[in-house]
Amino acid sequence: MDDSIEDPTTAGRTTSQSFKVVLLGEGCVGKTSLVLRYTEDKFNDKHVSTLQASFVKKKLNINRRRVNLAIWDTAGQERFHALGPIYYRMSNGAILVYDITDEDSFQKVKNWIKELKKMLGSEICLVIAGNKIDLDKDRTVSVEDAENYARSVGAVHFHTSAKLNSGIEEIFLGLCRMMIEKADKQEADNLVTLNRSGSTRRTIIVDDEDVPPSQSSRWCCSS
């Protein structure tokens, strides 16, 4: 069933691609400000996004390909931790945000990643954002630790600051590139399986169900 849902988002849109990105991270690490900074650079303050920053859409052009990003903010409080799987179901990418001055928030990121890997395997592209680099003097999470960890789980690490507007464009762009790459690979894989048997057979079945019954019944009735 998961496959059938995956198809319309990737295969259906050949001209433009749509990706769902979830923002994960503890409360108060700056997920919302990150998104706001990213979207408000393009749009003015009167835009609807100022009303709420929990769901944001963004259109990008990367290598002459149109990409629609849907960024889903999640509630980061500890009490809502268990709801994570509902949020990141079917998402293409995840941005995990931690506060470089808060060791705990980095620990949370590790938990999230463990969970994500368990639930979605390698289907999801991961980026880790060490936010609030403007407070570098209070840093408790070392750069080395963070980058090593990121490498170990196949994620890319960025340093960001919503306040100074640094590293934000890069993190979203980087994630998009990763997702496009993954989607292309998936499409190629699909083509291979299609040539073997899998999907072709399925479409034929659908055709069978759709068209012939009406014809055959018509013949029966008239004769």
Binding site: C28, L36, P213
Partner: protein
Amino acid sequence: MMSFKKGHFRIGEAELKCKKGNGCDYYGNPQWDGFCSKCYKDVQKQRRINMSPKKVQMNKISSKQDSKKIGLTEKKSKLSYLKMFNTIKSKDEISEKTKKDYDPLITKQLDQVDSEYSLILSEPKSLRVDLKKQIRNFCQMMMSHLQSPVDIQSELTQHFYQNVLDMLNNYSHEELSHETKEQILDYTEKYSMIKLYKFLFCMTLADEDEDLGIQKRIRQLNWVNAKHLDCDIDKTNAQIIELVYKAILELLDMDSATAPQDKLACVVRCCRHIFGVLQGGNNGVKGPASADDFLPVLIFVVLKANPVRLKSNLHYVTRFCNASRLMSGEAGYYFTNLCCAVSFIENINAELLSMNTEEFEQYMSGTLVSDTWDSALIICEGMHQMCEQLALLADLKRRNIMIVEDALKFKKEMSSFRENLMGQFAVLKEVYTIVDDNDQIEKKMSVSIDDFDPLCSNLPQWTMTPQVVQPTERTRTNSSCTDGDSWDIHSAETVSLHSLDSNMVPENNTNVERILENTINPQPHLNEIQEISIQGWQIPSIPCETGGKIITNTENNI
């Protein structure tokens, strides 16, 4: 459908014979309503004579009424059936349902959808035809899959959406814009789901159980207030309270919407109000609300709204809404949040509300009570529940009245149909007597003779043999017959002739006595005259060939 077809192949020879049955050994033909050609011609003739246009109309109405009646009772039986066995349905019932017309309400909704999207659909005509065909096929297919597990139904639905999307992508006649495609997909989804709503929504016992479970759970949690959830709601601000109520109402509205996207639209409106609440929280100075603020308020709203059939609604949307809509897009996001809220409520415990277990238990058992505003909200919820029940009762009442009305109408129609039938029957009787029923004619003949001249029955029996009468005598009697006022002539013949044309005059008592005495004498002549007079006034109304018959019949009888 299938069973219907099968039935056609098993026909005995008796059924193939002419429908007229007795005496007719020819085979019938469906084109001729199951009659053989000869009988069909007869029947057609009869019909042309008998069927007045009024009766045709009447027939139509009554049959329409009948089918409506059947639909109603069937629905009723379906309901009770569902209550007992829920997912199990007989094959017959399903096939009946597919054939059955949809509710007038649903038809109305469908028409609305049609008109709503008429602009997009009107443009490419061939596309519209294709689309309608696809939708029809899909609905038929779903009807045959009513017994299948919901997962399969859901998968079929998603495949259908995908098929339509493929069709639009490969549409060769003209390039469709992205918006048009979206709208056509919207239309497809809305139309087919409204059509199938009755069969897809809340169809399993499990769904119903879950609904009741969550409702009970929320009622138990009615003491949970904004503080417990850490939400930022300004209770003193009337505007914000208003917004909370609006959000609650929108959430309650979700149950009354039928199409998945309409349900989603309710959720979206509810969430917009919540963002309003969050904005107004600090007189609008607060920045854009994040999910951290949003989710607690949504949970609060769900708790206070306690919508009916909440779980069924969520399941219905997840299963039958276009998956791409749920995966991306604002509505999908809000819906996901709603799912999260419900999941949170299901798993709520002391820890999640950051209070100790003891306090939580006390609240749950009702020993601790919440403050006034929360009580007000509880009452509000109770009111909504009551409204819901009242609406249900009103609906039941309306249906009951409808049934009674229909029954009365049906009764009236039956009686008028009976009257009509009797009238038709009477007409038919007359037609039959004239056309070919010999016995009837004979009876009528004898009756009319009696009516005309009571004296005839008094006449002695006399075998009828051709009589040779003198031409001169005949003309004389005939002439006297025509000028019937000549009472002074007291010959027996003329008097008896008089008696044929008019009843006896009471003043002439003596005359009558004499007539009675004399009638016996001129027997041969009298009978001859009688014969002539019968023919004289009866012939014009009798068809030629039957006229001859009458004579021979009377001859035999006498």
